[in-house]
Amino acid sequence: MVVGDVATGTELAIVGAGSGGYVAAIRAGQLGLDVTLIEEDAIGGVCLNYGCIPSKALISATDVAHEAGDAEEMGVYADPEVQMDEMKTWKDGVVDQLTGGVENLCEANGVNVVEGRAEFVDENTLRVAHGGEGQGSESYEFEHAIVATGSRPIEVPGFEFDGETVLSSRDVLDLETIPDSVVVVGAGYIGMELSTVLAKLGTDVQVVEMLDDVLPGYESDLVRPVKRRAADLGIEFSFGEAAAGWAETDDGIVVTTETEEGEESTYEAEKAIVAVGRTPVTDTLNLEAIGLEPNDDGFLETDHEARTDVDHVFAIGDVAGEPMLAHKASAEGAVAAEVIAGEPSALDHQAIPAAVFTDPEIGTVGMTEAEAEDAGFEPAVGKFRFGANGRALTTGHPDGFVRIVADEDSGFVLGAQVVGPDASELIAELGLAVEMGATLEDVARTIHTHPTLSESVMEAAEHALGHAIHTLNR
């Protein structure tokens, strides 16, 4: 034993204070456990510091500017000016407020927050090394541990992030000036969200995607309005091209792409942004010491209680598998804490909603029609276009629709897809419907406020039942 390295006993040690880790810590604290939460970087993890929150802050801020400058149809004339550094300061303020709040909540729930990088030493010991040379370390002897180390962006070979010309999503969210032009590699949700923000700020955006469409994994009719708006904003797309390399030029860089057939293209821009996905972090805490190994996809496998193969070690969040979303991480964190505290808890939710904060937004939950069919249901599908919704028309962007998928026989809502204004909020009601085992009739007969976008949810259910009021029935 290293001199001065005294092991502190703790009932529960949690590595990583992201959406998964801090929720687990607070819940465990509520349940009376003695908790140690270890974070090497920033409390709140990716979501609060470099992901969901700062990206949504920028999306909202740029939307304000863009909408104001693009509302002549509504009789509004404005020429907004964006001070990027001030916008960043405001965004950082939001982030600070949230991370500060999380810290306070941890403290209030008796969670012991420790700064430093944790590493397993053996099955019951973690060593925490404090940042910087010679800052020392300490050890914790735990009864249970939760691995919540999250994920990091995937680097494309030849495109190592340098924070200057080749940027990760995190770098983009920290920009103090607006680049004139960018090449965005990857048209997944992060790439699309960032592209939309930059295009609205006036940047020339060229998106390069290896696959043949944006937002892979989403149904094409959901994606279509997003692509259309992106094109309206001047975003250019090149599909079927993989980023191959880049070189510096006089006033920026030139990115070379390659098709499968080996055809090359070049794109000039000020900067490149690489957002090709994220990979779980399993290499920072010496998992070998407790005999845990990631599966072929790089994730730690867990059961319905979030437990790994090592009985007293749990894994949650991005490191524990798809979908890599903050709310999934939090849900798993709560379950892990409850199970460890001896509560009856399990991951048996019916569906995990997902939202993409593009323009327009996409929200999905549960099954698509095709998935319902594959699962053996006879789907009843109802759809309602925002173009027929009064409130949507007042937003000035009534693109998109609500689609609800139910079981024809019983009427149970199995899933829903929304694309359009505030889809990320609207999907919540549909998530509740799926989770509660609500039927189409339950949704249709629930009175919805008028005039709201949420009426579209009711109308989609009515459409599936064949008695929609404001659209022709199927």
Partner: protein, 497 residues
């Protein structure tokens, strides 16, 4: 693309119709022009033919529904299309999501994961709210093995508790009155809920769908015994509502049975007053309350007519025509109408004019299953007795089979009703408004007639002529009737016409 078929314009001025019956079912193959539905308009029942070759994919209304012209009533899958494919409004949900790439952005895999954890047996999973799932874990109940009693089989809190207690699933636990005697196993469950006192609460918690069921079954939800309590309030499920409704019905049926021991059916029945029946009613009402009716009665000796028809019948049959008295009566009526044109008129109230018609279209009332219909033989004056006979037979047949064309029910100038076909002598026919006269025929029978002081047996026909007294006076009615009688007494006179 599935083909949506809208209710066509089935006749002039018809805006809606009732789907009387479907002639096809979902999945049936149909060929173009094959009748798919019988639609009853206010005038007639018509068959609606398929516009395409294909398969019935969806029938959009139940029989008995009123549908407006232009509403989609059937969806056909055209030949070569998959019937099973629901007519979803999208055309591109082709399972793309299922092959989500390993890209971190996909959210889809979650469902696959969770599906494994919940009921893995069928495509159908266990539907239960999160709170009930938690309870199941608390009570160590495998929720997948609990059969739900909630709406559409949703697992409820009480189902889980029942399962935990090892009771028969579906038996309510908490709410069972403690005082209830512990009966032999099974009896409690079998006791019909109707024997429980009606609840009569002020406030009842229930899901919207449950309220829908209550409404459908005409049940007051505050009367339904609660299956459980939520937040101190009575909570009622759809099944409880159904059970209650069944209990009520059983009780009612029992009442009826006691009162009318021996009778089978209900004492009263409520039959919708609509369609052809209502149209007839409306027309009768309009006629009766608009046109002051006066009915003139007389009896005519038709012994000669009877003999004449007997003589002519074989000749008619040789030409495949069934010869009745009606064509003779129609001929006689037309002859008389020419003498008394005021009876072949109508009153245009708006214009304040009497419209005299110089054409003679005679409506003949026909009893059909749906009610009275009045097919019209046009230009009777220009047709032979045989032609008229043939046409009357055809129209009556079509009216009974409800295949008659709407034009054949329109445009009469004077009507005849033959109530005597069933027996009887006199009646008050109601004018086929806005015509001004209608002749009712009683039964042709041998009746005693006084002749030169002797009572003799003669074939007689009682006549009842109703007239609109606003246009026609009693004297004219009598004179017209006498004229008709003259032709019927001496039918050979018709040869001169």
């Amino acid at each position: 693309m599935p083909r949506e078929f809208k209710l066509p314009d089935v006749g002039e001025g018809v805006a809606e119709g009732e789907i009387v019956s479907w002639l096809v079912e979902v999945g049936d193959p149909v060929s173009e022009d094959q009748p798919v539905a019988e639609v009853e308009t206010d005038k007639a029942v018509v068959e609606v033919p398929s516009p395409v070759n294909g398969t019935v994919q969806e029938l959009h209304y139940e029989a008995g529904t009123m549908v407006e012209v232009g509403e989609v009533i059937v969806t056909f899958a055209l030949e070569g299309e998959d019937v099973a494919a629901a007519p979803a409004p999208t055309d591109d949900s082709d399972g793309k999501a299922a092959e989500a790439p390993a890209d971190a952005d996909a959210a889809e895999t979650a469902d696959a994961e969770t599906a494994v954890e919940s009921a893995p047996d069928t495509g159908g999973r266990t539907f239960a709210p999160p709170s009930v799932r938690t309870l199941a874990r608390e009570l160590d109940v495998d929720i997948g093995a609990v059969s739900g009693t909630g709406p559409s089989g949703r697992v409820t809190e009480s189902d889980v508790r029942a399962a935990a207690d090892g009771e028969t699933v579906g038996e309510a636990t908490e709410e069972k009155p403690a005082a209830e005697p512990a009966a032999e196993p099974g009896t409690t469950a079998e006791t019909p809920p109707s024997s429980e006192p009606a609840a009569d609460r002020d406030r009842t918690l229930a899901a919207p769908a449950t309220r829908g069921v209550a409404k459908d079954l005409d049940v007051d939800i505050d009367q339904v015994p609660a299956v459980e309590r939520r937040d101190g309030e009575a909570f009622v499920t759809a099944d409880a509502v159904r059970e209650y409704a069944e209990g009520q019905q059983a009780a009612q049926a029992a009442d009826v049975a006691t009162v009318a021991a021996g009778e089978t059916g209900p004492r009263e029945e409520r039959i919708p007053y609509k369609g052809v029946r209502k149209t007839i009613g409306d027309k009768m009402e309009e006629s009766k309350y608009t046109a002051p009716h006066v009915t003139h009665h007389d009896t005519v000796d038709v012994t000669e007519l009877v003999a004449m028809r007997e003589r002519l019948k074989p000749h008619a049959e040789a030409q495949d025509v069934r010869l009745t008295y009606m064509p003779f009566v129609m001929k006689a009526v037309v002859a008389a109408l020419k003498e008394f044109p005021e009876l072949n008129s109508s009153l245009d109230e708006e214009a304040g004019e009497v419209v005299r018609k110089h054409y003679y279209n005679i409506g003949v009332a026909v009893a059909t299953e749906a009610g009275l219909m009045v097919p019209v033989v046009d230009d009777v004056d220009a047709k032979s007795v045989l032609e008229i006979a043939e046409e009357v037979n055809r129209l009556a047949e079509e009216a009974r089979e409800r295949t008659i064309a709407l034009e054949d029910l329109q445009g009469s100038t004077f009507s005849i009703t033959n109530f005597g076909a069933i027996g009887g002598e006199y009646a008050t026919p109601i004018i086929n408004y806005p015509e001004v006269g209608i002749l009712g025929l009683g039964a042709i029978e041998e009746r005693p007639v006084a002749e030169d002081g002797d009572v003799v047996a003669r074939q007689t026909l009682p006549l009842s002529l109703s007239i609109d007294h606003r246009i026609v006076d009693g004297a004219d009615a009598a004179a017209f009737t006498n004229d008709v009688m003259g032709y019927l007494e001496t039918p050979s006179l018709l040869l001169l016409k």
